[in-house]
Amino acid sequence: MTTAKTKFPATAERMPPQAAGVSPLRSAFARRLGLTALGWAIACLIFFPIFWMVLTGFKTESAAIADPSLIFSPTLESYIAVQERAGYFKFAMNSVVVAFGSTLAALLIAIPSAYSMAFLPTRRTKGTLLWMLSTKMLPPVGVLVPIYLLFRDVGLLDTRTGLTIVYTLMNLPIVVWMLYTFFKDLPKDILEAGRMDGASTLQEVCFLLLPLTLPGIASTGLLSVILSWNEAFWSLNLTSSKAAPLTAYIASFSSPEGLFWAKLSAASTMAIAPILVFGWLTQKQMVRGLTFGAVK
């Protein structure tokens, strides 16, 4: 109701200074048309490589390398060939378990930590936070061999548990930092009031903090899921067959002999489809969470 009221006059009032001579209605229409065209053109341009990949997956190998064309008879042959060579679901399942498992674990560890940083800051809080973030800037290749030896000795190679642990720790700095910014924006009085009523810390976190910052926590979690899903270094190097996620699936199609573009496109489409759909469905949620905290 209110939005409609404020927005309509805003569009109407925008005109007068610039478009003195032209009818305001016509100019508004032209402006809207231009805006629509521009918005859609840019969106399509950005999306084009993905669109093209999906399209190529439905072509035959020889059509895939012919001159670009939108007209072709679609075929599922690449999908069938790809599925025959590698069972998609095993890989997809691993991706799901590891991405969501590590996100859950990271949130569980990060919430108390971010809580204390936001509400009981010490002189070292900011230092700790930045140090945490700087650990993310280490190139993982540099520590592969130590980690590999460590994992070998504790039997974590090629296990979902092992990969989950790595991803949890990998995303922890970002998760802690984002939660910290969300928590910090919460008015202190609310928690204060809760404490006055005799709430313990645990109650305070569970019944006040979490419900109030849920959108923020959700968007942090979503980001963590996406980052874990797309991670391609640790997943390739620490797994072999049982725990291999979709990034390893892609690596088995990435540059084989002969013509492979259609098959590669089909495999890629299958590998990104779940996370893409997940991202589309949750983007509103993500935006809501982000508005709430970090970037307000």
């Binding site: 927005k7 969106a43 999306f47 108390p112 700790t128 190139p139 290749v141 910014t181 983007q283």
Partner: protein, 296 residues
């Protein structure tokens, strides 16, 4: 007054400790164990392929690393890559955020299309760009160029770093867009209205109201992107393998060559230590630049 505060701090301190403990301990382990191993290995003569060559090497690994002419090229490339991508995504993201903030038919769908590349695995997007967009004879771009009668560009050999920058920017532009769009939505309409009443044009509004409002969000974008851009690897590995020459070798890739082609753990560890130090310098730099914005 002073007394109560002091008492509060001790209680708080205790609580802080117990709450931060899990995250900090885990991160500490994650950081310290590999870091200690890395520092230790960096002082050793240790090559996985030469089991007989062992022993304390002192600073020899570092000497080799710093006399390697490739190191400085790699650092330069790293900075150039990070800088260019940041510039493109922040500027592009801001402009796109303003565009997608305007109302036009199908805005929701257009937005979803425009943020999609963020959900695509880096390996997949590199493969798609390499094989289907930038391929010198069958890529869409070369086909476009040829249909306009222009010579096809051989992207990865004539403009290697530019190509990498394009691919990486394509992946991160949606992220910047997402965050900035979120931030722009919280812009106070009344403030914009008031400025417009005072006769400010759209450009003035952008520079004097929108941009300052986005300052904090831009800091967030820079911070998070920086973390990931410093360790860009998959895109280079898939497309150019660091070449031609050293044209696209960044620090992460240089360490990869040492660690996984040479299996020279000593040298790779030295590279890792240097990267940690570099990351911390960047982190300190970031504190100055970003933390101030985050405070407000």
């Amino acid at each position: 007054m002073t007394k109560t505060r002091a008492a509060g701090r001790t209680v708080g301190g205790l609580r802080t400790l117990s709450l931060q403990a899990p995250a900090v301990t885990l991160l500490l382990l994650w950081m310290i164990v590999p870091l200690a191993m890395t520092v230790w290995f960096s002082l050793q003569r240790y090559n996985l392929l030469m089991p007989e060559m062992t022993g304390f090497a002192g600073l020899e690994n570092y000497r080799y690393l710093f006399t390697d002419p490739a190191l400085w090229t790699a650092m330069g490339n790293t900075l150039l890559l990070v800088g260019s991508v940041l510039a493109i995504t922040v500027v592009g993201g801001t402009l796109l955020a303003v565009l997608f903030q305007q109302e036009f038919p199908g805005r929701g769908v257009a937005r979803v299309l425009a943020i999609s590349p963020f959900f695509v695995m880096p390996t997949v997007s590199a493969l798609v760009w390499k094989n289907m967009m930038m391929h010198p004879s069958n890529g869409v771009l070369s086909w476009l160029a040829e249909s306009f009668g222009l010579p096809a560009v051989d992207w990865f050999s004539s403009l290697p770093l530019t190509s990498i920058i394009i691919i990486v920017s394509w992946q991160w532009l949606p992220f910047a867009l997402l965050i900035l769009l979120t931030a722009i939505q919280s812009l106070d309409d009344d403030q914009v209205e008031a400025a417009r009443m005072d006769g400010a044009g759209p450009v003035a509004i952008f520079f004097f109201i929108t941009l300052p409002h986005l300052k904090r969000a831009i800091s967030v974008v820079i911070m998070i992107e920086m973390i990931f851009l410093l360790t860009i690897f998959a895109e280079i590995f898939v497309t150019t393998s660091g070449g031609p020459g050293l044209a696209t070798t960044n620090l992460a890739f240089l360490i990869y060559i040492q660690a996984l082609l040479d299996f020279d753990v000593g040298m790779a560890s030295a590279g890792g230590v240097v990267a940690v130090i570099l990351a911390n310098i960047v982190a300190i730099f970031l504190v100055r630049m970003v933390a101030k914005n985050l405070e407000s």
